[in-house]
Every structure is written in C-alpha cells, then in structure tokens.
Symmetry: C2
Subunit: 176 residues, 2 copies
C-alpha cells in the first residue's frame, strides 16, 4: 500500500509578495536564509502579509458559503523544496543551532518527505474564484492542494505538551 | 503551475479496526453509511479508537524526539474515495439534509478534489517505527502522507466565526 504513489492535481495557486523563504534547506540541513533579526522580522511580516489564492475557475462552486468563516486551513505544496532537502532526517528547528538536532516529523520544517505545508489564515474576502487571505506563510506561486474550514472546537487546547525548544518558539509566536 | 501534478510517496500506513467509514460519497453526494444514531455512535467510537501508524522503516529517524509531544497532526490519504466522489461540488454536510447544500471547501467532507485528510491525535507511545495514537478518524490501511507536531499556540482560538450549521456540529463535538 505504501508502495503506490499518490497523484495530486493542484486546485489553485498562491500569489503574494514573498519571493524569498526565511528558511532554506539542502542535503546538509535547514538554515536561516538571512540574519536572525531578519528572520524574526520575516515571520512577523508574514503574519500581516495578504495573499491571493486563485482557484481553478471550474472549482469556484466549491467555495459556496465560504464567506461565513473567518479562518481557513490552507494546504499547499512547498514547490521550492529540492529533492535533496526532502531526504533530510534531522534538523536544528528553525535552522537555529541552539535547538537540538530533531527528527523531521517533530518539526515544522518545510523540508520534509512530502512538503504538504499547512497554515491557518484569516479570510478577508472572496471574489468569484479568488480568496484574499491574511497570514499565509507560503512563497509566491506555491500550488494549493486543499482548503478546509477552520473550527477551533476540533483542536485540543488543554493538556497539550510540547518539547522545551518548541515552547520557546510558541511563546515567541504568542507574544506578538 | 496548477497544470503540473504533484507526486506523493506515502510515508506509512494506518492500521486500526475501522473498516467501514461513517460517511460515504458517490457522484450523487455525501450520505451517512448507517442510520443517524449509528453515525453519532461511530464518531464517538472513533475518538476512542487506538490506531497504529506504521512508518516505512527507513523513515524511523524522522521520529526522533516525538515522545515529547502529547498530540500530533496526521495527514493521510482518503484512499477509499472514488474518482466520482472527488468531482462533487456541493454536499449536505455530514450527509444530513437538514444542513444546507454547501461548497465542498466549506466542509470537512472526506470526498474532495484532493482527499488529504487531517486529524489531530493523541500520541500514546512510540515503538521504533510504529506510533500508537488515539482519535484518528481514518479507515484501516489509509496511507499516511505527513506527520506534524501539534502546537496549540499556532491555532487561533478567539474571534473565530463559523456558519450556524457548523456551530451545531462543533457544539455536539464539544459536549462529549
């Protein structure tokens, strides 16, 4: 069963002004594309970045009713991730060597075997087959593979434990 | 860009006792596979269901450090969804005709253009390349495409709005 490959046809494409990812990866590992301050600034800017999701015209009816949601889950494909980067086993999270070398599936690294990346975004408006959203941390021209409604009741809030290094990242994220 | 198909190689497979999905779909729409009470019961049982995720042996190092998380996000492929079901545009959510006919991307229907399905599960234990998890609503033998850490700080909690019909589903989910 795990031998059969799955074929996915993108449902649309992301357009925004982010041409340059904050983190890059190759066969040697994950690293920050800019200095640490610029990376932090990059993440903050991404949260404010407005992107357009342009759906294939024939799929526009699948958006019927979407305006009633304030937030959506976007699954997109990390098309900038090289084949080499997809074979990494462990990385320093966020490309920060002060964080321990950690198995890929324990990190949010975009470089992973199947770079299906996920962000919860704020829906600003819909115009026919185009969604305008805020906070999508994808680079320009990323293919979109699915859109799901975000319903906070389906996500646990209490009794969730995470590693100490991830706590630092989460606290920094939350303090904005 | 949206013309190029994406190829995904599953990272592993799900094993559990769920052979029979609560919701089924064909070209005519989404419907409940059993009577309404059985569907409700099915969803409750799924929350308690313990599944094994068996990773490809060569990927076991990517789990290094996973025991420090209590919850994981599992992306898996809805391998039981037919080609016809993937062309649906609108459905009655949960196959319940008292809910309005709604665009696919506004629902959690497993029948969608790219059935990459997502569940947040509780991690019970890891044994080499096998994860034992609770609450995975996949059927037996579903291919797994990605595993991500669940960090509640990355998900909004306040000022989230959803349609009235989804509020009913969410309230029912939360009252358990």
């Amino acid at each position: 069963m795990t031998e059969t490959n799955i074929e996915i046809k993108p449902i649309g494409i992301i357009r925004n002004s982010i041409s340059d990812p904050a983190l890059v990866a190759d066969e040697k590992g994950l690293r920050q594309n800019r200095d640490k301050k610029a990376v932090q600034k990059g993440f903050h800017e991404t949260e404010e970045e407005v992107s357009e999701i342009i759906l294939r015209e024939e799929l526009k009816d699948l958006l019927s009713g979407i305006e009633e949601y304030s937030h959506l889950i976007i699954l997109y494909w990390g098309h900038g991730i090289s084949g080499d980067a997809r074979t990494l086993k462990k990385v320093h999270p966020m490309g920060d060597e002060s964080f321990p070398l950690t198995g890929l599936f324990c990190t949010c690294s975009p470089a992973r075997p199947n770079p299906i990346l996920m962000t919860v975004v704020e829906l600003i408006e819909r115009n026919n087959n185009i969604l305008k959203v805020k906070g999508l941390d994808a680079i320009d021209k990323s293919p979109v593979v699915d859109i799901k409604p975000y319903v906070s009741e389906f996500f646990p809030r209490n009794d969730v434990s995470i590693p100490e290094w991830m706590r630092k990242i989460a606290d920094n994220h939350n303090s904005r």
